[in-house]
Symmetry: C2
Subunit: 410 residues, 2 copies
C-alpha cells in the first residue's frame, strides 16, 4: 500500500521538506532558551483584556461571533481597520480592504492574483520564510536582492531586474518588508522607500508591502519612520501597490487575523480567491479584534508591550557587544523582534547552532531565509519570546559556539 504513487499536481510534486516545521520544533520546547520562532511573548498577550472584552459584548454579537460572516470581513472590523490605516496615511479612495486569515493569507491571495508557474518574484535577501515557501508553492522563480542597513540596495535591484528581463523572465512583483524587517531587523529609510516607488513606476511592476511589524517601533520618536510605502505613493503609482497587515504582533497570532489592502480594481478578484480559500476568516477572532481596537485596548496594549520588547532588545544587544567576536556583523534593530547576524565568509552558522543546541539554546539559520538557499554564514536571533533573565547566559553560549567556529575556519 505504501508504494501507491499519488498523481500529485505539478505545483506540489516538487515540494520537498518543511523548514518551518524544523524551526518550530525547538521554538516551542520549554527546556530551551529560544531565540527561534518569530513569536510574540507568551506571557505578554492581552489574555485578561480579551476575556473581559468578550464577556461584556451584547448577546447578539456573541452569537454573531459563532456564525459565518462576509468573505471580506466582519463589517465593523473592516471599518475600524480602514480608519486605523487612514491614520497611517493610506486612503480608501483608491484602495479597499479585506480581512484575511493571517497576513500570510493576504500574501497568498495577492500571489494567486498574479503568479503563474514560472513567473518571477523579486524579494529581499534575506526574506520572510513563510512568504518564500508560499511563493515556491506557486512554482515562482525567486530573485533575492541584497540589502544593507537601510533596505534593499538600489543598484542591485536595478541590475538583477535588468538581468531577469534580459533572460526573458516574466517578473510579476516586488515583495518588501520595509518596517522592522523579518529576519533582517532593519527599517528602510525614506530614500529607499522613495526608490522603491520610482522603481515600480519606471518598470510598471506591482509591489506587495508586508507591514506586519508596523507598530513595533521601540522609541516613540521612531513612529514617523514607519510610514508605509503605500502612504508615500502618488496617485499614478498607487494602483500598483498592495499592502498586508497583521494582528499577530498587535494582539496575538492565535487569532489568525490580518488584512489585505489592494487597489479597487483588484478587489473583487481578491474576494473570489478568499472565498475559495476559507469562505471567511474566523468571526470569533474578528469580533474580538474589533472590540480590542474600537474600545482603545490596542493602543494601551502596545504602550505596555513596547518597553518589554525594548528591554529584551537592549539586553540582547548588550550581551552581543559583551560576548560576540568583533568579526560578527549586525544591524541594531530600532523595532520588531529580530537581529540578523553575519559571520565572516566561510564560517558555518550551522555549526554554531549545533553547539548552541547542545547547550540548551536555539535560534534560526539564515539559510532558511535565503531565496537561493546559498548563504551558510548567517543567522537570526528573535529576542521577542525570551525571558530577560535568560538572555545574557544564552548569548554567551552562542558566542562560544561562534568562537569555536571562527577558530576552525581559520
Amino acid at each position: 500500500m505504501s508504494t501507491y504513487t499519488y498523481p500529485y499536481a505539478d505545483t506540489v510534486a516538487h515540494l520537498q521538506s518543511s523548514d518551518i516545521r524544523d524551526l518550530m520544533k525547538y521554538a516551542i520546547r520549554d527546556d530551551f532558551v529560544s531565540f527561534a520562532g518569530g513569536m510574540p511573548n507568551n506571557h505578554l498577550f492581552p489574555v485578561a483584556e480579551v476575556e473581559k472584552i468578550y464577556h461584556h459584548l451584547p448577546q447578539h454579537v456573541k452569537e454573531l461571533s459563532f456564525q459565518y460572516g462576509p468573505t471580506t470581513g466582519y463589517p465593523p472590523l473592516v471599518e475600524t481597520l480602514k480608519k486605523y490605516m487612514e491614520t497611517k496615511g493610506i486612503s480608501f479612495d483608491t484602495h479597499d480592504l479585506m480581512v484575511t486569515t493571517g497576513s500570510l493569507q493576504a500574501i497568498y491571495i495577492f500571489t494567486q492574483l498574479f503568479v503563474n508557474p514560472g513567473d518571477t518574484i523579486l524579494t529581499e535577501n534575506p526574506s520572510f520564510i513563510g512568504a518564500l515557501t508560499l511563493f515556491k508553492s506557486f512554482q515562482a522563480d525567486l530573485i533575492g536582492i541584497p540589502m544593507d542597513k537601510d533596505g534593499i540596495i538600489p543598484e542591485k535591484l536595478e541590475e538583477q531586474y535588468r538581468q531577469a528581463v534580459e533572460q526573458g523572465k516574466n517578473v510579476k512583483f516586488l515583495y518588501v518588508i520595509p518596517n522592522f524587517h523579518n529576519p533582517a531587523g532593519l527599517i528602510y529609510n525614506k530614500e529607499r522607500r522613495r526608490f522603491i516607488l520610482d522603481f515600480i513606476k519606471k518598470h510598471d511592476l506591482l509591489l506587495l508591502e508586508d507591514d506586519a511589524y508596523n507598530e513595533l517601533y521601540l522609541n516613540e520618536n521612531d513612529k514617523e519612520l514607519t510610514t508605509p510605502v503605500l502612504a508615500m505613493a502618488d496617485n499614478e503609482v498607487k494602483n500598483q501597490i498592495a499592502y498586508a497587515g497583521s494582528f499577530s504582533k498587535i494582539m496575538g497570532p492565535g487569532f489568525r487575523l490580518g488584512w489585505l489592502i489592494v487597489p479597487k480594481g483588484m478587489f473583487s478578484h481578491a474576494e473570489i480567491i478568499k472565498q475559495s480559500l476559507d469562505a471567511c476568516s474566523p468571526n470569533l477572532s474578528q469580533v474580538i479584534a474589533h472590540a480590542f481596537m474600537d474600545q482603545g485596548y490596542m493602543s494601551k496594549y502596545l504602550e505596555r508591550i513596547r518597553p518589554e520588547y525594548r528591554l529584551r532588545r537592549d539586553l540582547t544587544l548588550q550581551a552581543v557587544k559583551k560576548y560576540f567576536p568583533p568579526e560578527v556583523k549586525y544591524v541594531e534593530p530600532r523595532g520588531g523582534f529580530y537581529i540578523w547576524f553575519e559571520l565572516p565568509e566561510g564560517a558555518e552558522a550551522k555549526k554554531v547552532l549545533d553547539y548552541a543546541l547542545e547547550n540548551g539554546v536555539v535560534f534560526v539559520l539564515g539559510h532558511s531565509f535565503d531565496p537561493d538557499r546559498k548563504r551558510q554564514n548567517t543567522f537570526r536571533l528573535a529576542y521577542s519570546n525570551v525571558n530577560p533573565e535568560d538572555i545574557d547566559k544564552a548569548v554567551k553560549i552562542i558566542a562560544e559556539g561562534i568562537r569555536k567556529q571562527l577558530e576552525k575556519a581559520k
Copy 2:
C-alpha cells in the same frame, strides 16, 4: 487610473462573479425570513458553554490560545479528533489527520495536491457551491453526475466517467457528500457507498469525502446510516480516500475549524500546502474546540440541537405538504439543513424567488449548485436558521410564487 490592466494569473483571469456573495446578501438580513444560507441557527450556538469553558482554562493554555501553533493543529485537539473519528470506524494506522481553517480549506488542500489546470473532477449534481467555486479557481473541468434519493446514480457515474476518458480527460478525483447532502438533503444508502468504493477501486481514482453534516441525523436510529465511506473501505482502496470534517455544524462556523484526514503518504505534502495557506489554524478556536469535545460539551450540545433542527424540518415539511403543488418534487431529509426542490421542466425557479423576495422570503436557486449552471427549475430551502413561527407563512408565500410560475409555464 481605473484603466490600468492588471496582469492577472491564468487561474484568476477567468473568475467572474460571486454567487456566494449574492447568496449571503439576503441571508444576513433581519427583515427577511431566510431559507438561504447554509447556516446553523444564530440562537442555538453554545455561547454560554464556550465562555464558561474558556474562563476555566489554566492561564498557560489561555496564553497558548493567543500564540502560533503547529501547522497540523493544536496537538491535544488532533488527538481528540482522532479518537472521535475512531468511534466512527476510521483508523489512523493508514491515515493521518490535520486541523484546517474550516472544511473548505481541507477541500482546498486536497485539490491543490492533485489538480492541474484542465484536470477533471467528478462531482455530484447538485453539489456544494463552496467546493464548486474552489474547484473552478484551480481551472478544473467539472462533470456533475445526477443523483436520485439514494445518492449518485451508478450508471450515470460509470457512463459519464467513460465518456470523459474517451475524450482524453484527466480525471483526478470524485467529490461526494454522502451524509445529509448540501444542497440535495439526501443520505447515501449502504449500496451506493459500496458502489463508490468499487468505482474508485476499479478505475484507480481518488475520492474526497465531505462529511460536514455527519452528526446532524435527526433520529437516534439514523446514526448508523452515517458511517463514513472511508470507514467502510478495505485496506486496498483506503489509500485512495481523503475525508473532510467540520466544526461549523457541531460548534459554530465562526471558529473556522475543520479537519482533513488523508492517507499517510499524502500527509507531508498536505502539511506544506497548509503551511503556505495560513501557517496554522486559529489556536484560540482550537483550544476551545479541544475543551468543548474533551469535557463532553459537544455531545450534550448535539443532543440539545437535534430536536431544534428536527422541529424546523418537520414544520417546513408540513407546510410544504400543505401548500406546494403536487408537481413539485423533493426528498424528505433525514438530517442536515436542507430540502431540495425540483419544479416541472420549463418552470423558472428564479421567478419564484423574485416573488418570494417581494414578499420578504429568501432562499437559494439550484442553479448555483449545478456544476454546469444549466438547470433553472430547482431551488434549496435551508430550514436551519429560521424561526419556527415564521415557517408556515413563509412556505405559503413560496407556494404562491410556484403556482404563479406553473400557471405561466402552462
